[in-house]
Amino acid sequence: MTVTQSSSPANSGVAPGRGRRLLSSFRVLFDRPVTAFGTSIFLLFLFLAVAGPWLAPYGSNEQIYSDARQPPSLAHWFGTDQLGRDVFSRILYGSREVLFEAGLGTLMALFLGMTLGLIAGYRRGWIDELLMRFFDSLLALPALLLALLLLGTIGRSRYSVLIVIVIVYTPIIARVARSVVLSVREKAFVEAAQIQGESSLHIMFREILPSVMPALTVEGALRFSYAIFLVASLGFLGVGVQPPSPNWGLLVSEARPHAAQLPWSLFFPAAAIALVVIGVNLMADGIKRILMGER
């Protein structure tokens, strides 16, 4: 496989054939059947997130009273809920909300965690000590509990869930980044750069970062699947978003009292959560196997 070479940290200062490498790492996502399965699911939902509002046959809170409590049919593929809302349309709208919040939150956490991890790992000393002890204290709390505490403090809105994802996942990503930095900073090419008199910033982001990227990519993909789960969980608990938001977790929570009579209104959003989390997770697993050199 050509990929193993592309992920080796040694040649990352320069970037020969960047486009081809990107393409081949993309192909890697379909390398094994399991990974291909996960990637396909993710891409499907990504497509739905982008195109959902155009594909959805009904509005996200459109209530057709005469169609309330209908089982799945041709007119309503996933049936309707107790207020006559089309479950399929709500899941389509919800995919945008869930993937957008989880994705953006994870990206922000990745960026912040990466920066802080680089600084802590490269600089060491008091700044390392301070950051890590602080992160340890955050990590001591279970993610969901921390999220609930934060939401209680900063209030509820679309952005508060984003902020929560960033605060919950930044420490984990920073620790991963730092641990890789600690081993890389002793390498000869870093020393060489130091001797050349490069600035710390240059060394951190141009020399060390490329070696950290594979681990971060894997961690990021995993965190993304957890973030989807977190967004849905907070929706389910009713703390992240407010009705009539089509957040999948909120859909599950709203459908729960009607589970015996309208099982479809519970099953489909729950299945969507499960499917997308499994998909992203399998994809992350595939990425890890490639980038970390496992087979």
Partner: protein
């Protein structure tokens, strides 16, 4: 190091997800057997808005109840057992069968005798004289007398911090005027004094009862045989009960259930015989269950959508009118309540109040265009829409009601942001009494004056809409005092019209009270407040 971390995470996560899917599958499979019910949409659409509490039971009990049998009732655990502190359905149900009220209220909200057999009024409604039943004995064997009644009401009105201290502050004196005669004197006339005497807490205790928490010495139809907190309370029939032929049952076991759906499962499984608390969805499954007789009666309880009217934007009558016009009450009733209960018309004086309710006031027709025009007159349009946050507790059908209102009002150009809150937040400081727009649930009361005095007159304690209308205040004050029934009816009807026309409130529906009983038993007369349901006439079906 990294390589070893991920697989563990992965396996755990995938395992969790598989578990989730399986549990969901089980949940949804369990439900598919009842699919047939959900296809006929909003079935009882032509709902009973008539005055009588109609029982929706399939077949009326043909044979009269015969004596015997122990009725097992599912109820929430009780906390308070001293009548002065009871409040929940289950607490009142227990107390109501161990003790007796002086006078009682029947399922049609009419005053009926209990320990008092006759009464008369004098001095323009300032004096009430009650004759008590003869031959009543306490469970400990001693004789009941007027002194017990005096002692009980003195305790109720003089114990600080109790709801009854407020309720009875209009009583000037309570005196024993004979062996079996009690005289109440009031400082001001009160049209609803008899109803007040039948307040949930006003169960008669024996004079000098020290500790009503452990000592259950009542006159009631049942005696406490055994009480295991958090498990059950067992009652046995009082052989010496003063009313001939009552109770019919040998005993009642009140078994405590924290979870309504577990209680319904126990009912279908035959472990209990009567459940009186369940969500609509479970009630519908019971309607289809053989061997179970179901009851659904409209109550006077309702969800109140109210706009604060003492500041922008609710202080503009055009806004109130526009929101009323933009609301489709019938659709809300059919979708949120599924047609159970009764349709509302923006007044708490509902169809169950008999003559007080004016059936000639037509429900407002929905008219989105006019609503939009009124909002435009009030200065709201597409560029400057009326936008409000709708606060709602996370209980009952209120979140659904909020979602429906948001959609209905959106058609008139109103932007609603929903805030679903735990009850502790909604009813907390800066909560329901402060917010501009909210949904508040109000429980069922046997007479409507309560809602006017506590919620709608200018200086009402819980005037959440901050409604202040001089004409309305005068009418409400007069209705509270007049002893002329015809006059009171006319006053209530005038107030209904004011509320429908300009009250900053919406009452889209009245709740239903559900009950389901094993059809071995008959004679259940369900009340709007389930705890006041009288089980004295319940017995085994004859056949």
């Amino acid at each position: 190091m990294l390589g070893t971390r991920f697989p563990i995470h992965n396996k755990r996560l995938v395992g969790l997800l598989i578990l989730l899917i399986f549990s969901l599958l089980i949940v949804s499979c369990g439900g598919t057997t009842q699919e047939s019910t959900s296809e006929d949409v909003a079935q009882p659409a032509e709902a009973e808005t008539s005055g009588s509490a109609e029982v929706e039971s399939a077949e009326e009990p043909s044979a009269p109840a015969v004596d015997g049998g122990t009725l097992r009732v599912a109820m929430q655990p009780i906390v308070n057992i001293d009548p002065i502190a009871i409040s929940s359905d289950s607490e009142v149900l227990v107390a109501n069968h161990v003790y007796d009220y002086l006078i009682d209220i029947d399922a049609q909200s009419k005053i009926v005798p209990r320990l008092a057999t006759k009464w008369s009024t004098a001095d323009g409604g300032l004096t009430y004289v009650f004759q008590l039943a003869d031959g009543v004995k306490w469970h400990d064997g001693s004789d009941f007398s007027a002194a017990d009644v005096v002692w009980t009401f003195e305790r109720l009105r003089s114990t600080e911090g109790t709801p009854t201290a407020d309720l009875y502050n209009n009583i000037a004196s309570i005196e024993q005027t004979g062996d079996l005669e009690v005289t109440f004197k009031l400082s001001e006339p009160n049209s609803f004094f008899l109803y007040d005497l039948s307040d949930n807490h006003a169960l008669i205790l024996k004079e000098g009862t020290e500790d009503a928490h452990t000592n259950f010495n009542g006159t009631g139809p049942f005696k406490v045989e055994n009480y295991s907190p958090e498990d059950r309370i067992s009652l046995v029939a009082n052989e010496d009960y003063f009313i001939e032929g009552q109770p019919k049952l040998d005993g009642i076991d009140i078994i405590f259930f924290n979870d309504d759906s577990a209680a319904v499962d126990a009912l279908t499984g035959g472990q209990i015989d009567l459940a009186m608390r369940m969500p609509t969805a479970l009630f519908q499954t019971l309607e289809e269950t053989p061997g179970i007789r179901t009851f659904s009666i409209p109550t006077n309880g309702f969800d109140l959508v109210r706009l604060r009217s003492d500041r922008e934007p609710g202080n503009n009558p055009l806004v109130i009118q526009a929101l009323k016009l933009a609301t489709d009450r019938e659709a809300i009733f059919n979708v949120v309540q599924q047609g159970y209960g009764a349709l509302g018309n923006d007044t708490p004086i509902g169809p169950l109040y008999g003559d007080y309710f004016d059936p000639s006031i037509a429900p407002l027709e929905r008219d989105v265009e006019t609503a939009r025009a009124l909002l435009a007159d009030a200065g709201y349009d597409e560029n400057n829409p009326l936008s409000l946050t709708l606060h709602t507790p996370d209980t009952g059908g209120r979140p659904d009601l909020a979602a429906v209102l948001k959609e209905q009002w959106a058609e008139a150009g109103v932007e609603i942001e929903i805030s679903v809150e735990p009850e502790s937040v909604y009813y907390g400081d800066d909560g329901w009494l402060e917010v501009d727009l909210g949904i508040t649930g109000w429980g069922s009361r046997p007479y409507p004056q309560f809602y006017l005095d506590t919620m709608l007159v200018s200086d009402a304690k819980w005037n959440e809409s901050h409604f202040s209308d001089e004409e309305f205040d005068q009418l409400a004050a007069e209705a509270a005092k007049t002893l002329d029934d015809g006059r009171r009816v006319s006053l209530y009807r005038q107030m209904e019209r004011i509320l429908v026309d300009r009250g900053p409130i919406l009452v889209p529906y009245f709740f239903a009270q559900f009950a389901a009983i094993n059809d071995q038993f008959t004679g259940l007369d369900l009340k709007a407040f389930a705890g006041r349901t009288d089980l004295r006439e319940v017995g085994l079906s004859g056949s």
